[in-house]
């Protein structure tokens, strides 16, 4: 996970994605697809809710991995996009416009707009300033949501129905919704993989290593990063749309800054820059949260030090660990 110090190679991102066979991801998706079967065979149905939620966060983590892992830009305001997506969805459902085909363009458009405006400002800076600015912009949206008194303000907004697709209540059935989320996750993984392997993705990755050299080669680094930032924001907005539908509730807490920190941790936990790592990281994170919060209400006292120890003592995240154990070799 090297972004500032060139001495440590970024392990997961080092392999050229074009040559990667997405074996791990395919196995992972297959296992996920079998989960409803396991539930029907007696696994507690709590798992279905938990994994659906984990996959929604996996979509957000995946989108963050595009700019953080591949682009090398540590955005600490990514939860804002999830929140914008969730709020746009919640407000439209409340206003009686619950059709997903109406909501989605609004969600994607708003996230693209917010990413374009804040990205244009924050991408003018590097490193630590970028972290601080994305954090501040994220907080700005958080306060904006708190001030939306017509839509619940600080208390959040309870939704009384889920979105419909072409008028059908596809999202109402829990298993149906599970497969919708899985489908979106697979699609996002595929899209981001294609982007990463494309010429655009190569330039983005090259700019992480040495922006000046890429600029001298004739590429407009700022513009490429901005496009990546916008794509990433739109995909995160998509996860917000799903999150609002799953929880039937939206609240400013969705975009509070610890949420952004958790998304970063999911990406790092899985292994920066390897896309399936972000998915594994999100799943592991939500399982850990579920188990620990079942043990004690003070679970963060355990979880916080776990993050610290993880950062201090591991490199390359879970995917790096798996690679050391010989699982999921790419080359």
């Amino acid at each position: 996970m090297s972004i500032a110090s060139p001495s440590v190679p970024a392990p997961a991102a080092a392999a050229a994605p074009a040559k990667r066979r997405p074996v791990v991801a395919i196995v992972l998706f297959a296992l996920l697809a079998l989960l409803p079967v396991a539930v029907s065979l007696g696994l507690p149905s709590h798992w279905l809710t938990l994994v659906t939620r984990a996959m929604i966060f996996a979509i957000a983590a995946l989108s963050l991995d595009l700019i953080l892992g591949v682009g090398g830009l540590v955005s600490f305001g990514h939860a804002a996009f999830v929140g914008i997506g969730a709020y746009a969805t919640g407000i439209m459902i409340t206003e009686g416009r619950g059709e997903a085909l109406l909501i989605l363009p609004v969600v994607l458009g708003l996230c693209a707009l917010f990413a374009a405006v804040t990205g244009a400002v924050s991408l003018r800076t590097r490193g630590v300033t970028f972290i601080m600015i994305t954090l501040a912009f994220g907080q700005m949206v958080y306060f904006l949501a708190q001030a939306l008194s017509a839509y619940g303000g600080d208390d959040g907004l309870t939704l009384y129905e889920r979105s419909t697709v072409l008028g059908f209540d596809v999202f109402k059935n829990r298993i149906g919704f599970f497969y919708v989320v899985l489908g979106v996750l697979v699609a996002c993984y595929a899209v981001i993989s294609v982007i990463v392997a494309s010429r655009f993705g190569r330039v983005l990755r090259a700019a992480r290593e040495n922006a000046t050299r890429v600029a001298v080669t004739g590429f407009h680094v700022g513009r490429i990063r901005l496009v990546a930032y916008i794509i990433s924001g739109m995909i995160a907005g998509l996860s917000g749309f799903l999150l609002a539908n799953q929880t039937e509730f939206v609240s400013p807490a969705y975009m509070s800054w610890p949420r952004s920190g958790e998304l970063i941790f999911m990406v790092v936990l899985g292994g920066v820059g390897s896309l399936h790592g972000a998915i594994i990281g999100a799943l592991a994170f939500l399982f850990a949260e579920d188990v620990l919060s079942g043990l004690t209400e003070h679970w963060k006292v355990i979880f916080g030090p776990m993050i610290v120890l993880f950062v201090l003592f591991t490199r390359g995240g879970l995917v790096g660990l798996m690679r050391k154990l010989g699982v999921g070799r790419h080359d």
Partner: protein, 308 residues
């Protein structure tokens, strides 16, 4: 909008600015000299406030309690430096952000376990209770004046240390080029420790001084941390002068925006929509200021010398 109200709100803005300066100064120094982004800095502000609650009620004296709280905060800060931060200086910013984020989770929750989730407060010390009459019929609490005065005094002391002493010279040199300072034979680890102790004390002092006027609660450090980031970005990273100017701008803009945005908007809006828009706009105002400053000067208003 009367003149009296305006004066009161300007004083409130100054007071927020002073608190922000104390927090941001430590943060910007630590970042400037050590290239270390410490998200847990806000937690140190919170710890200062909580320790003040405990020690003031134990000793029954505000001054004594403040001194003990500062000492305890310093001990905790140095323990964290020894256990965690020291191992992060050589790491990239992503690792630093994550590890200190983990510490925030731990300490926010830990504070909840030790002191409870309910907001606490520190009584205003007797010798600073009461009000000062600003003008006919307008009173302003003496303690808040004392807070502004104490903050300015600490600011002046900081300026003196940084600009006029040998340690300060090393700090400034470190902020421009830490490897070079090290190469010239200065014990950089000791310098880092001094900088870190400085920053911790400043944040804890701000927290303890804020305890009598703000509610002391878990997470109180997070909001001030993000405001301190805005201050640093506006002022320019690594620059104490920038932190001072940035803190006053953010404090004043935020306070005045929240007080007068409604009235301003009502000039060309109906009352309910002015209230709704005013609430939204005033909470976004400082971020808009930050965006504008960055757009015009990406390096901040008063960047540290020798940094790009």
């Amino acid at each position: 909008m009367t003149t009296g109200l305006l004066i009161v709100q300007i004083l409130n803005g100054l007071q927020l600015g002073i608190l922000l300066f104390l927090v941001a100064a430590g943060l910007t120094l630590v970042f400037g000299v050590m290239d270390f982004i410490n998200l847990a800095h806000g937690v140190q502000y919170m710890l200062g406030a909580y320790l003040a609650v405990t020690f003031v009620s134990l000793t029954g004296s505000f001054v004594l309690g403040l001194a003990l709280a500062l000492a305890a905060a310093l001990v905790i800060g140095l323990a964290l430096e020894f256990l965690v931060f020291r191992h992060l200086y050589e790491r990239d910013h992503l690792d630093q952000v994550l590890a200190t984020f983990g510490l925030i989770l731990l300490l926010n929750q830990g504070v909840k376990m030790v002191w409870g989730a309910a907001p606490l407060s520190v009584p205003v010390p007797a010798f600073l209770a009461g009000n000062v009459a600003l003008m006919e019929g307008i009173l302003y609490p003496t303690y808040r004046f004392a807070l502004i005065g104490a903050g300015l005094a600490v600011g002046a002391l900081l300026w003196f240390v940084v600009e006029k002493t040998r340690t300060g010279m090393l700090l400034r040199a470190g902020a421009s080029n830490a490897p070079m300072v090290s190469a010239l034979g200065v014990d950089i680890n000791k310098l880092f420790m001094i900088v870190f102790a400085f920053g911790t004390m400043l944040a804890a002092f701000a927290g303890a001084m804020a305890a009598p006027i703000l509610s002391v609660e878990p997470g109180m450090g997070d909001n001030i941390l993000i405001l301190a980031f805005v201050v640093i970005v506006v002022g320019g990273i690594g620059s104490i002068r920038g932190a001072f100017v940035g803190a006053l701008i953010v404090g004043l803009v935020d306070t005045l925006g929240r007080s007068f945005m409604n009235d301003l908007l009502r000039l060309f809006m109906s009352a309910p929509s002015a209230r709704a828009a005013g609430a939204a706009l005033s909470s976004m105002l400082i971020y808009l200021v930050m965006a504008i400053v960055l757009f015009v000067r990406p390096e901040g208003l008063l960047p540290a010398k020798g940094r790009a």
